[in-house]
């Protein structure tokens, strides 16, 4: 349900004029919900940033989520480009 909970938050906040982006582990569900911008990551539910205590990976994921803010062609659903072992 987190996928929808986050998507709905994006819609409300974006309507108030603040751009948003999120992470999703369930891209097919996100495609149905259509939040403005989301990064699809190849990680299991419960692991949106990839790996506990792996700061390099977490920062790389966050950096790509941030980059989505430059996109105005909403809804944007982009895949993670960082190479990771899953």
């Amino acid at each position: 349900m987190c996928t929808q909970t986050v998507g709905l938050a994006q819609a409300t906040v974006e309507e108030r004029g603040i751009p948003t982006a999120s992470i999703t582990m369930l891209a097919r569900i996100t495609a149905k919900i259509r939040p403005p911008r989301a990064l699809a990551v190849p990680f299991a539910l419960g692991f949106p940033l990839g790996e506990a205590n792996n700061r390099e990976l977490q920062t790389a994921v966050l950096r790509q989520v941030l980059a989505l803010l430059e996109r105005d062609d909403v809804p944007v659903l982009e895949k993670l480009r960082v190479k990771v072992k899953v």
């Binding site: 909970t5 986050v6 309507e15 603040i18 369930l26």
Partner: protein, 160 residues
């Protein structure tokens, strides 16, 4: 991507049959400045609460739709998780709270000048909300007001 075939049968069936809310039209706000100058806040659905605060309830029908403020000065690892769903492994956030609220990585980006600043407060909800009407009508407008009050330029949202 988590292929739905890897999920439990019960969860897979739920994901396929649940009437997901479709956002239509998709709202669009645009940046007013470069990302490197933006004030950034996080919204997490991991059900985190600051120690001593009331945990999210598992007895609210349709899901606890309340929210908690997470001050930016908090030690992220001190946060307590009260997300009640068993549809995901809690091991990641138990080992490292940044998995649900990446405060330390966000501060690294601020220190490196990749974002302008980190907002004074972040927001926590508990993602297992199957009946989201009260969440949408009561909770989210308040969170949006507080983000505006904090002059947040970008809100990043993290589900678990």
């Amino acid at each position: 991507m988590v292929e739905t075939g890897k999920l439990s049968v019960g969860l897979r069936d739920f994901l396929q049959t649940y009437p997901w809310r479709r956002i239509d039209p998709v709202p669009k706000a645009s940046l007013s400045k470069p990302i490197s100058e933006c004030n950034v806040a996080l919204v997490s659905s991991a059900g985190f609460v600051v120690p001593g605060e009331e945990p999210f309830s598992d007895s609210v029908r349709g899901g606890d739709y309340s929210f908690r403020v997470i001050p930016d000065y908090v030690d992220v690892q001190s946060l307590e998780e009260s997300h009640h769903s068993d549809s995901f492994s809690h091991a990641g956030v138990e080992a490292d709270r940044n998995m649900g609220l990446p405060l330390d990585p966000l501060h690294e980006l601020a220190a490196a000048g990749e974002i302008g600043s980190v907002a004074p407060r972040h927001f926590s909800v508990m993602g297992a909300i199957t009946a989201p009407n009260r969440y949408v009508k009561q909770t989210l407008p308040v969170i949006a007001d507080l983000l505006v009050e904090d002059r947040v330029d970008i809100a990043l949202m993290v589900p678990v």
